[in-house]
Structure formats: structure tokens, C-alpha cells
């Protein structure tokens, strides 16, 4: 029999043991009777000789080797009974742990989804991705020629692919369904090492100009939309209004190689100009929009790869930087370097901006968990003290210290398991919510985009680890102390109260320090967000609506687009509720921008140095950007009039000659190339792509003086936004039936650009409040407990004439002392950890005096609030009753 069988069959074994020992006894009795003893005497003698039957049985049970398990089971039963007898204690402890563990798992699963989870593709562990750098500015986006250029270096790479995921619309115009779609270069599937589940995947032959557009769909999409029908390959889907045949299905689990942007449809890069002709120039050197994934050659070490790449990249850069970029701008463009990173979990634009916030969040939740542990440890200490009598009794009855220690640890483990259970449940919802927020960041309305935050072994292992470590942290110290309760305390619990008091106070001090860190963090991010919101961006959001359509989809040529834009403008102008309307190719903070190389007064500028925009008259007026000099564009600035341009202050400062900016000449090359323009106006600097970056030099051109392209309507609404939006949609949508109009308020666009700041603010605030609540609960618990333990002493003081107010002050002072020490320890730690958050803040230093002062005040107030009730209780004690207490 194995020990497991012996454990399972222990009842039967007990019966057999009983029978065996009785048999022995009966034989002894029989022998004694044979020697002439009468029955009663024989039995008495036999009993004497056999010794204690129960001891013998116990010794035999020990011999089974399952003792430890039986004891543990007994401990668990005992612990469950103990917890049930103290429901308040159990509830508080479990809730505290659940909050700590749940918060941790939530953040960890996002961290996991973003930075750890490998792509479900054969080559995952070999994949690398690239980041390009100019000084400290980094980007993960590459142009199509750059990807192809790197792919030609077969000495360095087995395969290089570019991918970008976007939303495309599937179905007939009246019921368009947005679907995440990856545009990929020809070597994409080969790079991933993926083989089709059915049909074929895309190859280099599919990624050429003029070849028929075909699509590969995900297993998930195949199930959802085609119900897994066997004849799906060969059928067509209506993608962006065109019938596209499905040629293959990817294996289950694969939903694209872009993190946070799942893709159910994959088409070649070259398919884009067929599907979305308005995205002109997507294979030119000017458009850097693809994320890179590559499989390095097997023989290369990381260092060799980077070294080889340094040379290769330089060549690629030279070949892909347009010849019109010359001089200093060219030198700067060619100074771009490339770094290689592991791409095991795919390519992502989110990874770089999210790494720091997620790391900070992880650090914060760890603090929250620590605080939770400290709280539970304190509860256990208090409980251990009040159970001192019971434990002392058990020690006196012969229980070993190890045995009691183990039993108390089992109790802690039980609490941890319950806490973890609820924590996992919290994390399940929490990570869903975080994923939704991240989805919103993607700015794709009506799509189920976001991170896949499902549990996996890494999350489960972390859960187990966290639960285990927590148990040890919060359980061991109290258990150790409780199990060491000296025998003398059987009669006197007062003394234990005092000795536990010191440890408990240091735990409270630790808690206060940790809470201070979190509260300061919350304060910093709150002020940071406030700074971003109140920043002078150079525009006033007012009551402005932004609307956009893609008329090019209807097959309009650039020339027809100009007319279309003009007629949309005229039609919207006449609508009720519309105060003024204008057009802009780019609206501020829409997430992206355009830039063109220019020649200003004969000097050529860098590739992405000058931002530029096409606008209609009254654009600045509607967005609230003041005109500082000259004039705004008018309807007269059309193709027949002399070319005009408006620039911002930074442009004037950096690129124009001193003196009057008006009348100076600028020429533009590139996609929107046109001849010399005369500057007719100067506007105030306005934020363009990001609020954190200083406004770049910007050049505005009248929309009628360049080639036509889709524009955003910028509408000054004089009626409720919702009504105006409906009116505009009703008037404009019929002009472009193929694609749905997108309408949003300018204010919403600004808010969504504050995503990171808002996320950090919400996270730190939630964690800060949690920490503060936990600390207050802990302090309150300790003070109540102390007051209860000192009842007799306080009673004596009161009886001897101490005034209640003095007693109250005494208790408050004790609490405040802990808080002050905690703050004194927390402040230097906060100062040391400030480096971690500096880059995430805006407009203030991490050592911001106001924030720190406010945080200290908050903690002091919370401390006084926590101690107020126990202090009052102490002051209003009835001295007579108190002296007779216990």
C-alpha cells in the first residue's frame, strides 16, 4: 500500500488494527487462564502487560507515515471552525487580501498581455522587432521600402516583415461591420512560421501592385462569421465595399501579430491602394507606418546581428531617404539608428509608451498588497493576543510549539486562499475593464478591440506565488509570536497586549509610510492631469464638432475631391445650429499629423521637421487659435489666386528671417508639392500631435490651392452637440453612402489624447485611496485594541482624577506618533522613488512641494480620524466598570 492508499483507507486500517490488538489481548488472556488464573484475574494481568491500548494504536498510526497529512486535515478543520467563530475578523482579513491580490493580478495580467505573452506562432521565440532612434526620440514605425530593404539582407535575416493593423469595414453599406485588419508585407506569414489551417496564406506574390486582392481570415472570425463552414475558402467577403476572396484560414488562437490590436482579416500592403485609395503613398519612403518583425539568421549572436544591422541600416537609410532631402536635413535623417528587441510577443506601438506606466502600476499594486498583508498581520496579532489563553492552554496540555505554529499557519493559508479566490474574481473583471480603457485608446469606435487578457499559466503561477508569499508575510510573524506565548500568560492577558503592541505599532508605521508613497503618487498624477487640461494649447475646444468622411472611396479623383469638399462646406454652412464651419486635413490631437520637407528662403528643412495642414477659411477662428498678424484665408484663396500660407510663431522664430514675416517665401516638396508661397498670416502656436511635445513649426495652406484629399469638418455648434451631429449626418451622409461618417466632439478628442495621464491618475488614485483606507482600518483596529487592553489602567487614571480630555489626548497622541514616524520614513523613500515617475508627469517635478504637503496633511487627518473613535471611547469609560474589567 502506498502512503496515499493508507491515507484513504485509514478507517479500515483502524478497524484492522483494533482487531489485531484485540486478538493479541485475547490470546494472552487465554494463555493466562491456561496457567490457572480465573477469567477476571487473567484479564487484569493481560491489561497490565499490554500497557495502554491507545498509546499502542497511536504509535501504529504514526508508523503509517501519513501522520502529517491527517494532522493537516485536522488543522484545516480546526481553522475553518475558528474562522467561522470570528466572522468579522475573517471577513475583514479576506476582503483586505482580496483587494490586494485582485489589484495585483489585474495589473499583472495587463502587463502579461502587453509585455510577456508569446505569440501563438512557431517562430515566436526567434522573432525580433526594431526601434529606430534619432537622439532620444524613438519610433517603431518603418516605411515599406525600409522593410523591403532590410528583408534583402539575407545574411542577417531569414525573413523580415512589416505589419500594421487598422479597422476596415466589412459588409454592404447599410450594415457595415468594423473588423481589425492587418496590412502585411509579403513575407509576413513566413516570418511568423505560420502554416494555414485551411487554404493558403499570403506570400510575396500577393504583395505586388496590380495583383488581385485576397484575404486570409482568423480561425475566430471563421467560426463567428462563417460558423466554421467547410467551403469558406473560395467564398468572398465584402471588404471596404469590394468583393475579396478568402484564400485561407490561420490556425486557432492566432489573431494577428500586433499587440493590443487584434486582427481577424489579413491582406497584403499593396491591397490597401485598391481597398482604400485615399491612403495614397503607403508604399513610398515618406510613409512610415509599418511595425517590423524579423527572424534573424540562426548563426548570428545578438551582438553580431546588431553590428551587421548598424551597417545594413545605414545603407537602407541612404537608399530610402528621398533625394530631395539635402544638406543638414539629410545628415539628420541619416543619423537615425536602429535597435533590435525581442519580438516574442509580437510588434506593438503600445509597448513603448505603456512600459513605464505599467511598471509604475506594478510597483504601486505591490505596495497595496504589502499594506494589505501588514493589515492582516496586525489583525492576526490582535487575534493571537486575544487567543493567548487558548494557546497557552494547548501548550500547557502538551502541544508542541511546531504543532501550534503549523496550525496558525494553516489558518493564515486558509485566509490567503479565500482572499486569492475573491482576488482572482476581482482581477477577472478588473482586467476586462482595463482592456476596455486600452481599447478606447485605440480610437476605434464600435469595435471589440483591446488586449486579450485571459488567464494563463504565467498569471496562475503568479497568483499562486503571490498567495504563498502573502501567507508567509502576514502569517508567520504573528504565528511565531502566538506559539511562543509563555505559560505564565495563562492567567494574564494584559502583558501580551503590551508586547504585541510594539510589533503592531511598527507595522502601522510601515503602513503609513507605504500609504504616503501612494497618496503622493496619486497627488502628482492628479496635478499632472490638471496641468495638461489647463495647458495653453493654442486653441479653445468650445462647442466644436469634428466630422469626417472618406469621399475618395466613391472613386473621386483629387480634382473632384476639391469640388466635393467645397460643396460639403456650403451644405453644412446652411444647416440650422451651425454657427460656422471649416475644413482641416488634420485636427489637433487626432493622433498623428502630416509633415513635408520645405525650402524656406532657400534653406531646405528636415523630413519631419515641419508639420503642415490644409485648412479652409475660419479654421483658426472656430478652434480659437488667435491670429497674431496678417490675415486668415478667404474663399478667394483658390487655385487662381497667388499661393498663400499661414505659419505659427515657432515657424517664424525658427525658419524665417528676422523682420516682418509677412511676404516671406516658402516652397514645399513631397506629396503635396507646389511652388513658392507667400506668407499672409501668423497664428499663435497650437499643439499638434501631442500635448507633451512643444508645438512644432507649422505651416497652413488653403485647401483650394493644393491637391484634393479627404478633410475633417470643423463645426462651431450653436445648438446641443448631439442635435447638430444628427443634422450634419443627415445632410452629408447621403453624399457618401459607402462609408459611415465619424462625428465626435473636439473636447472628446482632446480627452482621449490624455489617455495615459488619465490612466495613471485613475490607477494611482484608486490605489492611493485603497492604501489610505487600509491604513486607517489598521490604525483604528490597533487603537481600539490598545484601548481595550488598557481599559483597567485608563479606569484607574480616571478614578484618580484624570480628566477625560486628557485621556483622549493621550490616545490620540499615541496614534499620531505612529503616523508621524511613518511619514518621516515615507518621505525619503518617496524622494528616492521619484525618478521612476518623472517622465510620466507633466508640468511639475516629482518632488512637488504642494503635493507632498497635501499628502502629509491627508495622512495626518486620516490618522486623527482613525484614532478619534477609540480615543473617545477611552475618555468616556466608566471608571468603576473599567477597574472591574476582566
Amino acid at each position: 500500500m502506498t502512503w496515499l492508499q493508507r491515507l484513504v483507507h485509514r478507517d479500515r486500517l483502524d478497524d484492522q488494527l483494533d482487531a489485531e490488538l484485540r486478538d493479541h489481548f485475547e490470546r494472552l488472556v487465554a494463555d493466562l487462564r491456561a496457567k490457572g488464573y480465573d477469567d477476571a484475574a487473567a484479564r487484569r494481568l493481560a491489561r497490565l502487560e499490554c500497557g495502554g491500548l491507545d498509546q499502542a494504536k497511536e504509535a501504529c498510526r504514526d508508523a503509517r507515515g501519513t501522520r502529517w497529512l491527517e494532522d493537516t486535515i485536522q488543522d484545516v478543520r480546526y481553522a475553518v471552525r475558528g474562522c467561522r467563530k470570528a466572522p468579522a475578523f475573517t471577513a475583514v482579513a479576506v476582503t483586505t487580501l482580496a483587494i490586494g491580490i485582485g489589484a495585483n493580478l489585474t495589473v499583472f495580467s495587463v502587463f502579461d498581455a502587453l509585455l510577456l505573452r508569446p505569440l501563438p506562432v512557431p517562430n515566436a521565440s526567434r522573432l525580433v522587432t526594431f526601434t529606430r532612434w534619432i537622439q532620444n526620440n524613438s519610433s517603431e514605425s518603418f516605411s515599406y521600402p525600409q522593410i523591403r530593404g532590410l528583408g534583402e539582407r539575407t545574411d542577417l535575416f531569414e525573413s523580415v516583415a512589416g505589419v500594421s493593423t487598422d479597422t476596415m469595414f466589412v459588409g454592404p453599406p447599410e450594415s457595415l461591420e468594423p473588423v481589425g485588419t492587418s496590412l502585411v508585407s509579403g513575407d509576413y506569414f513566413e516570418t511568423l512560421g505560420l502554416t494555414p489551417l485551411a487554404g493558403r496564406l499570403l506570400g510575396p506574390a500577393d504583395d505586388r501592385p496590380g495583383v488581385p486582392v485576397v484575404a486570409v481570415i482568423s480561425h475566430r472570425y471563421w467560426m463567428q462569421r462563417f460558423n466554421g463552414a467547410a467551403d469558406t475558402v473560395g467564398r468572398t467577403i465584402r471588404l471596404e465595399g469590394q468583393q475579396v476572396p478568402v484564400v485561407g484560414i490561420t490556425p486557432p488562437g492566432f489573431i494577428g501579430a500586433t499587440i493590443g490590436e487584434p486582427a481577424d482579416i489579413t491582406v497584403a500592403v499593396h491591397a490597401n491602394r485598391v481597398l482604400r485609395p485615399e491612403d495614397g503613398g503607403d508604399t513610398t519612403a515618406d510613409s512610415r507606418w509599418l511595425l517590423a518583425l524579423a527572424v534573424p539568421a540562426r548563426s548570428l549572436t545578438r551582438e553580431q546581428l546588431q553590428a551587421g544591422l548598424d551597417v545594413a541600416w545605414r545603407r537602407v537609410l541612404e537608399a530610402t531617404t528621398p533625394g530631395r532631402v539635402t544638406g543638414e536635413a539629410r545628415t539628420r535623417a541619416l543619423s537615425m539608428t536602429l535597435t533590435v528587441e525581442r519580438g516574442i510577443n509580437g510588434a506593438s506601438r503600445l509597448r513603448a509608451p505603456m512600459r513605464r506606466p505599467i511598471s509604475v502600476a506594478l510597483a504601486l499594486v505591490t505596495l497595496v498588497l504589502l499594506i494589505a498583508c501588514v493589515n492582516v498581520a496586525n489583525l492576526l496579532l490582535a487575534r493571537g493576543a486575544s487567543r493567548g489563553r487558548e494557546l497557552a492552554m494547548r501548550l500547557a496540555l502538551g502541544a508542541g510549539r511546531g504543532r501550534i505554529l503549523r496550525q496558525l499557519l494553516v489558518e493564515s493559508a486558509l485566509l490567503a486562499i479565500a482572499g486569492t479566490g475573491i482576488g482572482v474574481w476581482i482581477a477577472w473583471f478588473g482586467s476586462g475593464a482595463v482592456s476596455d480603457v486600452m481599447g478606447a485608446r485605440m480610437q476605434v469606435p464600435d469595435t471589440a478591440m483591446g488586449l486579450e487578457v485571459a488567464p494563463n499559466w504565467r498569471v496562475c503561477a503568479t497568483t499562486a506565488l503571490v498567495a504563498g508569499v502573502t501567507t508567509v508575510i502576514f502569517g508567520l510573524v504573528p504565528a511565531w509570536r502566538a506559539s511562543g506565548t509563555p505559560h505564565g500568560t495563562l492567567a494574564n492577558t494584559g502583558r501580551i497586549v503590551e508586547s504585541h503592541g510594539r510589533l503592531a505599532s511598527s507595522l502601522i508605521v510601515a503602513q503609513v509610510s507605504l500609504s504616503l508613497l501612494l497618496v503622493i503618487g496619486a497627488g502628482l498624477f492628479m496635478r499632472s492631469l490638471h496641468n495638461l487640461r489647463t495647458l495653453d494649447r493654442g486653441f479653445a475646444p468650445g462647442n466644436v464638432l469634428l466630422a469626417s468622411v472618406n469621399p475618395e472611396r466613391a472613386g473621386l479623383t483629387p480634382a473632384q475631391l476639391l469640388d466635393f469638399n467645397r460643396s460639403v462646406l456650403r451644405r453644412v454652412e446652411a444647416l440650422p445650429g451651425v454657427g460656422a464651419v471649416s475644413l482641416g486635413a488634420i485636427t489637433p490631437l487626432q493622433g498623428g499629423g502630416m509633415s513635408q520637407p520645405m525650402v524656406v528662403n532657400g534653406v531646405s528643412t528636415g523630413l519631419s521637421e515641419i508639420h503642415f495642414n490644409l485648412v479652409a477659411p475660419r479654421y483658426f477662428e472656430i478652434l480659437g487659435t488667435p491670429l497674431l498678424a496678417g490675415r486668415d484665408f478667404t474663399a478667394g484663396d483658390d487655385a487662381a489666386a497667388p499661393a498663400a500660407a499661414i505659419v505659427n510663431e515657432t515657424f517664424v522664430r525658427r525658419h524665417l528671417q528676422p523682420g516682418n514675416p509677412l511676404g516671406q517665401r516658402v516652397a514645399m516638396s513631397g506629396f503635396f508639392a507646389k511652388g513658392e508661397m507667400g506668407i499672409v498670416g501668423v497664428v499663435k502656436d497650437a499643439v499638434y500631435e501631442s500635448m507633451r511635445a512643444a508645438p512644432p513649426p507649422t505651416l497652413y495652406v488653403p485647401y483650394l490651392q493644393t491637391r484634393g484629399r479627404p478633410m475633417h469638418l470643423v463645426i462651431d455648434a450653436r445648438a446641443p452637440l448631439h442635435d447638430v451631429a444628427a443634422t450634419v449626418r443627415a445632410a452629408v451622409q447621403p453624399m457618401v453612402p459607402a462609408t459611415p461618417m465619424r462625428i465626435r466632439s473636439f473636447a472628446a478628442q482632446i480627452e482621449s489624447s490624455l489617455f495615459q495621464a488619465r490612466l495613471m491618475m485613475s490607477l494611482t488614485t484608486i490605489f492611493g485611496v485603497l492604501a489610505l483606507v487600509l491604513a486607517v482600518v489598521g490604525l483604528y483596529g490597533l487603537m481600539s485594541y490598545t484601548v481595550a487592553g488598557r481599559t483597567r489602567e485608563i479606569g484607574v487614571r480616571l478614578a484618580l482624577g484624570a480628566r477625560p480630555a486628557r485621556v483622549q489626548r493621550m490616545v490620540l497622541a499615541q496614534a499620531l506618533r505612529m503616523v508621524v514616524i511613518g511619514i518621516a520614513i515615507g518621505l525619503p523613500i518617496a524622494w528616492l522613488s521619484s525618478r521612476l515617475v518623472r517622465s510620466l508627469l507633466f508640468g511639475l517635478e516629482p518632488t512637488d512641494g504642494l503635493t507632498i504637503t497635501a499628502s502629509v496633511v491627508i495622512l495626518l487627518t486620516a490618522g486623527i480620524a482613525a484614532a478619534a473613535l477609540p480615543a473617545r471611547r477611552a475618555a468616556t469609560l466608566n471608571p468603576v466598570a473599567a477597574i472591574h474589567y476582566e
Binding site: E20, D23, E26, R27, Q55, A63, R64
Partner: protein, 116 residues
């Protein structure tokens, strides 16, 4: 009963004795105790509290096998028998024991010789 103090069995020797007794024929616990007592001329007397745990330990280690069989009393009794593994163990341990006691005897005798 003898009033003479019974020497304690050295650690581990009870196992050896039990295996030796059972090696001759399968026996139940009481018979094992009786045999030990008789063969040692009352020197080795084991109580239930030491004998049965030892039997169970040996059974769990696979050195003994047990079987419930009907016995002379009409009740079923648990008979222990030596397994092959037990026999090997017995041989090895017996050899060890003899070497050890031989060595101890030599030392004691030599000490006696020196003392005289």
C-alpha cells in the same frame, strides 16, 4: 515475572529480531511476541506499544507481507511473512550485526586485558 532489570534493545535490533523470527514461518503478532520471549529466555519482552508499530513499519517498507487468515482460536488473525526484500534485508543486517558485535566484543575484551 523476573525482577531483574530488562536491558533495553539497541535501536533497530527489534526489527532484526522480528524479521528473524518470521523468517522461519508466517506468524501473527502474539506468536511473534511469545517466540521472542521464549527464544531469548525472557530477556526480550516487547509490549504491544513497541511490537505492533514495528510490524506495521516493516510492512509499509515492504519487508513483511501480511495476510488475514483463520487461526486456531477460530478468529481471523493477521499473519506476517517475510518477503523476498525482507529476506535480503535480514541477511545484510545480520551480517552487519555480527561484524559490529564482533568488533565491540574485541574492543571490550582488549580493554579487559589491559585493565588486568
Amino acid at each position: 515475572m523476573s525482577t531483574r532489570a530488562k536491558p533495553d534493545l539497541p535501536q533497530g535490533t527489534l526489527d532484526l529480531l522480528v524479521l528473524q523470527v518470521v523468517a522461519l514461518e508466517p506468524l501473527h503478532g502474539y506468536a511473534i511476541a511469545q517466540r521472542l520471549k521464549q527464544m531469548s529466555r525472557d530477556v526480550v519482552q516487547v509490549t504491544q506499544g513497541t511490537l505492533y508499530p514495528a510490524l506495521h513499519r516493516l510492512e509499509n517498507r515492504g519487508l513483511l507481507a501480511a495476510e488475514w487468515k483463520s487461526s486456531d482460536t477460530g478468529r481471523d488473525a493477521k499473519f506476517y511473512r517475510l518477503t523476498r526484500k525482507g529476506r535480503t534485508h535480514l541477511e545484510v543486517e545480520t551480517a552487519n550485526w555480527e561484524r559490529l558485535t564482533g568488533a565491540i566484543a574485541t574492543i571490550l575484551n582488549a580493554a579487559k586485558g589491559e585493565a588486568s
